[in-house]
Symmetry: C2
Subunit: 168 residues, 2 copies
DNA sequence: TTAAACTTTCAAAACTTTTTGAAAGTTTAA
DNA sequence: TTAAACTTTCAAAAAGTTTTGAAAGTTTAA
C-alpha cells in the first residue's frame, strides 16, 4: 500500500472508531491527521485535506484543544495559527480517560449516589430489585473511578509493559 | 425521592450514559427497565412504560438479546413472550466488553496491522511520523486486547474486590 | 383447515447531530 | 487611524440516526 493510501485509511478508521465510541467523526479525523503530520498544520491545510468547511475546522480544533489532545503553535513572523497533536499514545489515552471520567462518569456516580439513598420496604420486590441493581452498579462505577484515578496518577511504565500481566 | 421517580431517573440516566458511549438511547433504557423489574416483562408492557412503538420495542429487544444482555422467557400456558435481564453486574460488564471487543477492537487491530506493514524511507519525516504513530497505537490496541482477554477469562473476585488495588 | 394472538419487517417520518458559509469579530502592521 | 489577514460565531441546511405504524408473517388452538 502507498503511504498516501495508508494515511487516508488511517484517518478513515480513526474517524469510524471515534464515532462508535461517541466521539464526533470529524474530530477524530482531524486528530488522526495531526497525529501523522510531522509538522504543525494550519486551519487552511486541514480544511483542504479533509474537505471540511472553515467553521467546522475551527470548532473541531477548539474542541480538540478542550480535550487536551492538540495545541496551537505560532511561527515567528507569521499571522496564521498552526496546530499540532501530542504524539505520545500514553498521554492521549490518559487525556481521553481523564476527560470522559470528568464529563460522564462523575455525573453518573452523583445520580447513583442519590438513587442509592431511596428507602423502601425490603419485602417489596419492586423496591429490592431496584435497590440491588442500583447499589451494584454504583459499586462498579466507584471501582472504575478509583481505578482510573490510580492509573492516571501512575507511571507510564506498566502501560507499555503490558497492563494485562496484572490480571494473570 | 419516591421509588417511581427514582426508577424514572435511573432509566433516564442509563439512557443518557448509553448514548454518550455510542449505544442507542432506547436500547439502554429498555435494558435499565428490565434491570430494575423483579419479573419478566412483555413487549406490550415495555412499549407502555417507555412510550415507544411496537416496532421500536421489538428491534431493541432483539438487539439486546444479540448483545447477550437479556433473554426471552415463556410462561407455561401463555402465548406472549416475556423478557428479563441478567441482573449480575459482572456478567453485564463482561458481555459488553466482549461484544465491543469483537465488533470494534478486532477490526481496528486488523487495519492497524495492515498499516504497520507499509514500508518507506526512514529519513522521510512523512513516513516516519506515520509509522511511529501507527505502530504505537497498534501496540496499545494489542495490549488492551490482551488485557480484556485475560479479564474476561478471569474470576469474578478481583472485580468486586477492587480492580484498582492492582495498580497501587 | 381457520382465525385469533402474537411477532417481525421496513419505508417513510421524526428527531438529532453535524456541517456549512457568510457575516461579525479580532489582531497586527504600517 | 486603516485595512488586510486571519479567527470565530451561529442560523440554516444537510446528513445521519432512530422511531413509527401498518402490513406481512408466523404460530397455535380448536
Amino acid at each position: 500500500m502507498e503511504l498516501e493510501d495508508a494515511k487516508r485509511k488511517f484517518i478513515e478508521s480513526w474517524g469510524k472508531l471515534g464515532s462508535e465510541w461517541g466521539i464526533n467523526r470529524t474530530m477524530a479525523q482531524v486528530h488522526a491527521l495531526l497525529l501523522i503530520s510531522p509538522d504543525p498544520l494550519t486551519t487552511e491545510e486541514i480544511m483542504e485535506t479533509l474537505s471540511i468547511s472553515r467553521g467546522n475546522a475551527n470548532m473541531t480544533l477548539r474542541d480538540l484543544i478542550g480535550w487536551g489532545l492538540i495545541e496551537k503553535q505560532h511561527k515567528p513572523g507569521e499571522r496564521k495559527e498552526y496546530f499540532f497533536a501530542d504524539k505520545d499514545v500514553w498521554n492521549i489515552a490518559k487525556q481521553v480517560a481523564k476527560e470522559r471520567r470528568k464529563r460522564e462518569l462523575e455525573p453518573v456516580i452523583k445520580v447513583l449516589d442519590e438513587l442509592s439513598k431511596v428507602t423502601g420496604d425490603a419485602n417489596d420486590p419492586e423496591f429490592s430489585t431496584f435497590n440491588k441493581s442500583v447499589t451494584d452498579i454504583n459499586k462498579l462505577a466507584k471501582n472504575v473511578d478509583k481505578t482510573l484515578e490510580t492509573m492516571l496518577g501512575a507511571e507510564e511504565s506498566w502501560f507499555w509493559g503490558g497492563i494485562f500481566k496484572l490480571f494473570k
